[in-house]
Symmetry: C2
Subunit: 705 residues, 2 copies
């Protein structure tokens, strides 16, 4: 329930009541007042405390009701037991938003959770939005609003800039804020959402996506409490051209254990979250320093069209090290055109101007060489970004002026490219380059990684404009379908199986087999028997009608013997396909993101290597194709090892159709499992050889089990 105006009032209020205001500037009720006064907050601060006439020199009011005006927002710093009452008073007064610093709610157990629900009920009655409880609060650097008790402000205020931070964890959010400050990276706002009783990190991202002043969004999440809102917020940020850098923690067993004890909420499947979040344009990071590196590159809002890097270096070694890293992470470094190389060779005979462009230590004495090599890289190489390795030389006062004089015009001449230096030395010297729009990195490999993340954006934005898919509703049967029914249902949705027929008698079986041609495969039909081959109820390679008749009897006998209580609805006779590549695809219901499709290759690829592609349903055929080609085993489908390539088009149609079917099937669908799916060579198609659909059974329930 993200309503822009409400969140805006919370983050950029014209007036703020501080309930539980304190004279002590180290207390929760005292810190925000001190910070806002020190930062020159231009709104009105309205302390509330029944025991004081003034707080930190401001007039103080005995209660919310007695405030001389309606505060646009409130900070609540009272014991847990009093919070409900305060919200009630704020609601009556007409206050639209409250930040609840108070702890002692859902994070403490069931009783606290119930109390937290009560808070939301009260707030909803008054149309009031809540941040927290158990939140470190919010700050909005541009207007000097510090609705937070973070002690990070003891060591200074953030630098104003366009990087917004939205964090579930208060301490970690404050850490990110302090990290940005240490790096002199400008911030617009920090929003920490704490227990997320009402406002979630999705709302915070959504607000940043839509409000001026924030151009890059950094977010830290432990649990995703409102997946649809989060994806909507990510989409809004992408539409607004604002990169979202996401650190989703709780990936490991240890991490998940810690997260569970920390937030009392499930962290969900990290692999699914990765897939879905990056589908929606988020740049996934694992560490704060990576996040800040990328935010630093994105902050000037230069998003080059080309995903390519040129490196100019005064050290051959550094050029090689950086090139190694670029290749490792897939950042292209095309060579310079021959003519441009020749021109540079003429300028500096011992240079190696392919890419990396090694202009040798000579350039240290003559920055015009550096300029010439970089200009050629921009002009003739056309690289999206140029990284110049200048080490301690760029940081020396003796050289910096000449380098800056040579390079600053280049920065202005190519405003659509990124220019970065790898440089060491005095911070004050290096800051001059930054002021001229040149990025500064200490480490060449970190620079390469951060540049890559931003250079990928243009390409990925192009890929994002997929048309909205039509999702026709699917009428699921009331009970779990047997294999034949499942395949029929899927076939209607464009998910083909091999030619097959459900039969009752041995004669029907033989007739069907004659029609398909031999060999055929036969198996028992029963929604209650999942591992059919384990009990001998599957027969392969039946080569004539006699074998089919015999198999019919044996299969029914095996089923009766091993699963006497199973519902047996007949026997399935199917044409036995061979050749091609065995795959599997399916749909599972993720607790966070809902229906998620999975694709993988049969055999060791899934079982041993967990080599799968995931995506939230539904998605189109192009997307399905990208998923299929993204797995490590994809070369097997593309004709590795001398085989004819498999019908990837058919596979992609099938996978996309499966995702649309699942989305149309709705809430009752639990999972679909097509394993194996055979992708035949050439254009011969792809077929599900088995199909299991699990769903909530209506009426009848589970009595058949």
């Amino acid at each position: 329930m993200s309503i822009l105006s409400d969140i805006g009032g919370l983050i950029a209020p014209a007036s703020v009541a501080v309930v539980g205001a304190s004279n002590d500037v180290t207390r929760i009720g005292g810190r925000p007042i001190a910070a806002m006064r020190a930062a020159g907050y231009r709104g009105r601060i309205l302390p509330v405390n029944p025991n004081r006439d003034t707080v930190q020199g401001l007039p103080c009011y005995p209660s919310v009701g007695e405030l001389p005006e309606v505060p646009q927002a409130a900070l609540v710093a009272v014991p847990a037991g009093l919070v409900g009452e305060v919200i009630e008073e704020l609601g009556k007064k007409g206050c639209g938003a409250a930040t609840l610093f108070s702890a002692g709610f859902a994070e403490t157990g069931e009783k606290g959770e119930a109390a937290q629900r009560d808070l939301v009920d009260v707030a909803r009655r008054y149309g009031m939005r809540l941040l927290g409880p158990n939140t470190l609060g919010v700050y909005n650097v541009g207007i000097g609003y510090y609705g937070t008790f973070s002690s990070s402000l003891d060591t200074g205020f953030p630098k104003l800039g366009n990087v917004g931070i939205a964090s579930q964890s208060g301490a970690f959010g404050a850490h990110l804020g302090a990290l940005a400050r240490d790096r002199e990276l400008g911030c617009s706002a920090l929003i920490t959402t704490g227990n997320e009783a009402d406002i979630t990190v999705a709302d915070a991202i959504g607000w940043m996506a839509q409000s001026d002043g924030t151009d890059v969004i950094c977010t830290y999440m432990e649990a995703i409490n409102d997946a649809p809102a989060l994806l909507k917020a990510l989409d809004a940020a992408r539409s607004a051209g604002k990169p979202v850098l996401a650190l989703k923690s709780g990936r490991s067993a240890v991490g998940a254990r810690a997260a569970a004890s920390h937030t009392a909420s499930l962290t969900g499947d990290a692999v699914v979250a990765d897939a879905v979040l990056s589908d929606h344009g988020a740049i996934l990071v694992r560490a704060p320093d990576t996040m800040m590196d990328i935010a630093y590159v994105a902050s000037p809002k230069v998003f080059p069209v080309r995903h390519s890097l040129g490196i100019v270096t005064v050290s051959g070694g550094a050029g090689i090290v950086a090139s190694d890293e670029a290749e490792r992470i897939g950042l292209p470094m095309p060579a310079m055109p021959q003519a441009a190389q020749a021109a540079l060779k003429e300028l500096l005979p011992y240079s190696s101007p392919a890419n990396p462009l090694d202009c040798t230590a000579q350039a240290l004495n003559d920055p015009s060489l550096l300029e010439a090599f970089t200009r050629r890289g921009l002009e003739d190489g056309g690289y999206g970004a140029m990284l110049c390795f200048l080490t301690f030389v760029a940081g020396s006062k003796a050289m910096s002026e000449a380098i800056l004089t040579a390079m600053a015009p280049l920065r202005r001449a190519y405003p659509d490219r990124i220019i970065a230096f790898c440089a060491l030395g005095d911070r004050q010297v290096l800051r001059q380059y930054e002021e001229a729009g040149i990025l500064i990195f200490e480490d060449p490999c970190r620079a390469v990684r951060a540049l890559d993340a931003v250079l990928r954006l243009a390409t990925e934005r192009n890929g994002a404009a997929a048309a909205t898919l039509a999702v026709p509703p699917v009428a699921l049967p009331s009970r779990i379908p047997d294999e034949a029914q499942a395949k029929a249902l899927l076939a209607d949705a464009g998910i083909p199986a091999a030619p097959e027929q459900a039969v009752q008698t041995a004669d029907e079986a033989a007739a069907a087999a004659d029609r398909f041609g031999y060999p055929v495969v036969m198996k028992v039909l029963s929604p209650d028997i999942v591992h059919k081959s384990d009990i001998g109820a599957v027969r392969l390679g039946l080569r004539n009608a006699d074998a089919v008749r015999a198999a019919h009897a044996e299969i029914l006998a095996a089923a009766a013997h091993h699963a006497p209580n199973a519902r047996v609805t007949g026997v399935l006779v199917a044409s036995q396909l061979s050749g091609g590549v065995e795959c599997l695809m399916g749909v599972n219901r993720d607790p966070v993101f809902g229906l998620v499709a999975v694709f993988g290759l049969g055999g060791v690829f899934v079982e041993l290597l967990n080599d799968i592609a995931l995506r939230a349903c539904p998605f189109d055929t192009d997307t399905a194709r990208r998923m299929i080609l993204s797995i490590r085993g994809a070369p097997l489908l593309q004709g590795a090892r001398g085989a004819e390539p498999a019908d990837i088009d058919a596979l992609a149609r099938m996978l996309s159709n499966l995702s649309v079917f699942a989305a149309g099937a709705g809430e009752r669908l639990i999972s679909i499992d097509l394993n194996p799916v055979l992708a035949l060579p050439g254009c011969q198609g792809a077929f599900a050889l088995d199909a299991v659909i699990e769903l909530d059974e209506q009426e009848a329930g589970n009595d058949g089990h």
Copy 2:
């Protein structure tokens, strides 16, 4: 040819001649003199220049011959054409070592390469060691010796410490030195080897391994010019307990192209280099910042016995993020014992003291909590390292004294463990912790990675004390053996094949098959036919004597038809094994490291996923077992997918025996290829089903082809 005393004289000379000395402190012949005087070099500086009486205030001599004493080392800063003459003079004078700054040798092409060889010839005549040419030189911080013209000294001298840097690239080595200085990491020496006409980076590492003052060695390499010396130097460093952090560049296509143009030498196979260098104890890194992070952790020489991490955190979120990273890289974070958890819960009821030990923001107000949690981690958790996430709080002047007072005694009480803080803020504040022996990291994930690298050392050192293997000499045949001969040769060395016999006639074939039992496999024997099955000269699944006789004729006919010029020495009849897991193993001659063994699984694992383990020959069975278990597909051998585990013991013996055989075979061996090798289930053994040995043929040459 590493001779300690020679190199020692070069790096720590009591007197140094500067040939080509200059008054201009920005010139190559002027910089070292200025630097040494500024740094208080205690040795004697002896400028040589025919045009001056004094240089930078020091008496100057017209020629080397006229020097008043024999200089222990010389710096040569004269044009390329004069270098030979200077070396001659130095040799005559009795100088033992010269650093050749002069460029214009091997890096410029063939002519320069010849000139460079001439320099070495002259030096050898006088028993003189050479550094360079085309080197940036050497510095030795402790004695103020700056035999270098690096402009990095313009912005300050290195801080004295125990980290040594050995780099082929001058500019990159200087960058590493400047990086260490920027981070206040103390250095002992920088040695840059340039063209490596004589002294290589291996000599530099060897010197650091054996000399006091250096405890951690950082090395940057592009090409490995003397592999045996390098491995010996790494072994010496390991014996001395000095970690070697190695950045080997030129891994990627772009990087290798750049390296080739930069050093005019082959960079070799990066995967082989990785395997061999880490076998010899090197810690491989890809980026300068990683190198410095690890050097920083290793520098205090605290190498804990346990490879485990405890995290104390004031932010639940940060604890999760760091735990995720630890799990990702395989750094164990075992949970605290229950009793210790209970004790901490009693101390701080809302804490989560499993591991990470979340002591909540409460610890920010009360550093005794921080101390208690950390102490419990060290004492009850027994972790090798403790990482405390304290963010900006540790960096605030208001808190730092209390934190230091609480934590410094702990540092002293557990001298065998590593204690690190993740902290932000004022450098001067943070330095106080470092002075108390507490490491400071900005980023929790970088901290985790650097700690892991050092925590692994104890475990890996234990593994390194392998007994020296006996390598009996192998008598290779003069000509390439056919399959049967190859298998017989290998069988003698403990590398078994399936029961098999080479036969001439159909009767002999049938008799052999009767003896083995059916089914059998048959193939043509010829050293000239490699892809036997492609021409129909392999037959599988022969189930009786008649089939064997027929196959005998067909195989010989196929060979005669498709390879009329091939030497056919008979037909091989072998028992056809089945079941088990198909593997491959072999030996190849690497241009840098010599004979290297490879192991992998059959099928997609090698062909598609490049899932292999490599190691220089020879190695023992334990090592072979570790190689086998290191591949991603190893679970297939260990009984994944419900299968019985394969005979990994037999496989390991076979692989080790193969490595010993190869080492014993010596220079004529080109490669051995056993593909497939079948590892049978249980204790049934492992057998080579095919064997190809390639070798340089003696006398006869290749006329048989």
